[in-house]
Symmetry: D2
């Protein structure tokens, strides 16, 4: 039978990916699906790729429609989760795919999001040291942002191994699904096909403080992060180029060894064999993060390139992975490592 699960925000991209995963997960039974302006519609008209759920009718997103479930996934615009979560039972597992509960620092939240801080929940990135213990049995999970997921996985081993200075530059290319499903001229196919474009330049992207939070915790000191996101002509995927100044004496052998050791036992993170480089195509629809390690001795920088599917490991897959841990299910249940390629 499995845990009964509700998904709020089922008509968006994150909601759709949650449903794709949950429909194949033996530990869950899909209950109520909700939406905002799409409430009342059949899911098949909005997510026609989810054939087995076509006839499900979307309810409105309210505490009442979401009641009577063991697990509630929230895939809502930033700021919507806070008030809603406050009305969901404390014995219900609430997994927020939005940003509301990711940041520990209220001032940072208010600076970047311009609204009062809703609080801080256990952070759903199981690969962080000690984080599986934090997530076991929790009733509240803040799913990391897509960019922080991949950049944190890419850089934490260098910091925990003491190989990196706290001087980080990250440039990432994301597929357009990361920008959501609201129709905007700049997201039209005619505009994005054949084009890579910049946005959120100069440290203003809202995922920046989340990266700083994660990397500073790993480094044990404040880390500066220059983060530039770009939009690439593909629907899904993030390729992040993550560089940090190398500590004096850092060798390539030590760097590679640190990463192999950090991720040897991880089911969803792979350090690629030497000579191979990550591509987002290797991760499409899979819950994997793939990376490669380089040391640029002339420039004195560690360069980690890493790929994820922003909707899977970067959002919905990561959410289910953490939910599995919270519920005591096998961490890998319902999650795949085989991508759809080519």
């Amino acid at each position: 039978m499995g845990y009964r699960v509700a998904v709020a925000g089922a008509s968006g991209y994150a909601g759709g990916e949650l449903l794709r995963i949950l429909a194949g997960h033996p530990g869950f039974e899909i209950g109520t699906l909700t939406a905002g302006s799409n409430a009342g519609a059949a899911l098949g008209t909005l997510q026609p790729h989810l054939r087995s759920l076509s006839d499900r009718v979307l309810a409105e997103t309210t505490p009442q429609t979401l009641a009577d479930h063991d697990v509630v996934f929230l895939a809502l615009p930033h700021g919507a989760s806070g008030p809603l979560a406050a009305e969901l039972g404390e014995d219900v597992l609430v997994v927020d795919c939005g940003a509301d509960f990711r940041l520990a620092d209220a001032a940072e939240w208010e600076h970047f999001y311009g609204s009062p801080h809703a609080g801080t929940w256990p952070y759903g990135l199981p690969e962080l040291p000690g984080q599986r213990e934090v997530l076991a049995g929790t009733k509240r999970i803040a799913v990391p942002g897509c960019y922080p997921t991949v950049t944190t996985l890419a850089l934490v081993p260098a910091f925990t191994a003491g190989l990196a200075e706290p001087d980080v530059v990250v440039v990432a290319a994301s597929g357009t699904s990361g920008a959501g499903r609201s129709p905007k001229v700049n997201l039209l196919g005619s505009e994005v096909m054949g084009a890579v474009s910049a946005y959120g330049v100069g440290g203003v992207h809202r995922h920046t403080p989340e990266m700083i939070q994660n990397l500073s915790a790993a480094a044990g000191e404040p880390v500066t992060v220059s983060f530039t996101p770009t939009l690439a002509p593909m629907s899904r995927g993030i390729l992040a180029t993550c560089t940090a100044k190398a500590r004096p004496g850092t060798t390539y052998a030590a760097l590679r060894e640190a990463y192999l050791a950090a991720y040897a036992a991880e089911p969803f993170v792979d350090v690629l064999p030497e000579g191979m480089w990550p591509s987002t195509a290797m991760t499409l629809g899979a819950n994997t993060a793939l990376m490669q390690v380089a040391l640029d001795e002339r420039a004195g920088r560690i360069v980690i390139t890493a790929a994820i599917d922003n909707l899977t490991k970067g959002t919905a897959g990561g959410a289910v992975q953490s939910a599995n841990l919270a519920l005591g299910l096998p961490e890998e249940q319902g999650l795949g490592t085989l991508a759809v390629a080519p």
Copy 2:
């Protein structure tokens, strides 16, 4: 443990998709993988999206390396399956994803393929009337071509219901994976991105006689088929526009009813609700065929638009579906209906 399976041609696109499906299939255990010029390489260097199989080393494609398996999938260039299959045991289930055994008419084979006809095997399209009985227990399966799969599913109900004249025009757009993985200038990303192009125009594409064979059988009389394939800037998917002259008196209601009746019980074929039109995006990585029905009364033609993933329902998924039937496994086992979108 499941049936022990070998895949010949594991480094190509069809082979990769077979492995993606087989790795998640509870009834199969993946045995030997073989390749031609890539023999000796680790699968991870060639199919890096298949993480759990990365360490498998490819053997050469010979009768000896393929021996000692319950099932052998052949994903080889046209013409290679015939001689190889002759050396595989009669008690082994051999599933040929190539063209060698699809056509019943040796003259047609020789006209289109220019080599001696290897024979005719049971045709792996379970949705054809009576075909499940043919496939049950068989030891040899000829998997349909990708274009014939979608066009046959799209047009057979109109013929079996007596609504169509034997005058068919089909134009289909395919993703580039249908053209295989051999490097050619005209298949470079720089050439195909941003471009739709024609090829195989004028009745010369090798899938044409297969369509004629299938539709003539359904019509009970010879059907003429004008087939034009085109190449679209996407990796996967086929959208086929399939038209046939309407018999006098054909109504839209009768047409729609014929299709709903034909596919009501089919697990992998869906007639979309009125007002929705198929997109290849609805089928990515799923074993589904989605279609919509229209009657153009002015032009006097039935127009069926249909979408599949050429590598899944169009090749590897269809192959596994038929293999399930041959082995007495549940037909849907290991096959999904949820596509990866957006």
Copy 3:
């Protein structure tokens, strides 16, 4: 100095392409640019690829703002040109890129467009027999639709040479710019990338009566046209597969000769050498229509595949070509035959 030109609808895709061409045209001087909701904005914020016109501010689209020009190009939504054109002077050359004045048959207009017929203007397809004489000196031009442009060019020679029966099936793939710049969910990059989809199936697309009008005129009898448009993952381009039943006795040699003769003197239409097939990539940004000829003897059909850039030869380039003729300028002035590829 050149003729003074206004462009109404300068913020859309057709308007942008008009400006790209007009800015390099030695016979024109760009005057007022207008828009609807974007009035007041600088062009550079809306069409940032047109660097030399960045500082132009858009006026509102009214008869007053468009007055005092020698030529007015209208790139407006269907239905908007009629009332506006009535208020522009009779001595001004008005070139309508919309549909309002394309159809001769008022009943057909009302059936497909659902509004009163505004009238019929000289049809801006100079390659039609006798059409250059019609366009010379005219003060009103109805620019053909993008699909009718390519399908008419592709099929008229077969009809004028008496080689085709009046039984036509056309399937065309268009880039998404043909659907305009208004933001809609189904046109988002996330939805269209990696996807070919059907729309307007069953004879309901508004370009169908225009094709019937053109082909019937060439055939000298009513032609039935089954037309199916599809959307392909590219910004620009149309590849049309145009088939007609062959008259008995039609030979490939006669067919090819008819096309070579028809287009030998045309500056913008090329019949490709045998063995080459058109691709939209060969036409990007150029005012060319490229086609190839085939006769499928088994199916008894003529198959012409043809490519254009929907915004250039299919709209703005065709508009300028006809305007050149109307004004007595060299027909090719300001128009290129070199595409941007790869």
Copy 4:
């Protein structure tokens, strides 16, 4: 009549773009075109988008076939230009689009290219301070690499204004045409569509020393450059994210002013208005470099994002711009600033 021009390597992407530009250049007359393995073919079979040059037959690339021209453009694989150029007359303008003569430091050349250094020619980036004087009247031009073109333009003003520390991190996304036209599996459309991938990571890309050379000259001290290229699913275009540590006291106002001043008079370089960010789509087929300026005060880094078309400003357009200067023609002749979009 114009200068008589030969193009060696006319069958590749750079050669095709050179021809597209030269065919519309009033100061040049296109003479001999040459190729390697494609010698003997008609250009139309290889570059079918260049309609007016279709019938040109490609000669072999030899000093003899290239003799008797005023200008020779070399678009050859790295290492091929050196020996060939030595046999071309000293009074002929030779413009090398390859790398052979770009680097001043022979040791750097040998380290990155693994072959003897051919020499150093005047560097074809007219926007560098004092470079127009160097190029005027020269008979030899080394066209910059595509990545160095955009990164040099993006960062030089910060260094010349004394606002940047010599600590640079660049991550750039390139379209696949930058990887050339030789067929390789990893460049197949099936592999690159839907995918962003890393390559040449860790300071090993051959354009790195060229960036260091240019930026160090501007800074007046050695600059370290961490450069990571990535491949994006588009045919053309580079978006470069160029960051440098800000000198203490650097303000946004000073930074923006430095860039506006540096490029106010440049015909092909634009600093976008505040609030707009560059996209490769704004440069397709145009000889422009578009950029935006940001100061990330928290991270202490200047961030310049910049876009070019790698084949136009990044190769062929830049080559013609410098050739114009060398020949005393107007610098902008034959070069456009209007891109093809969408």
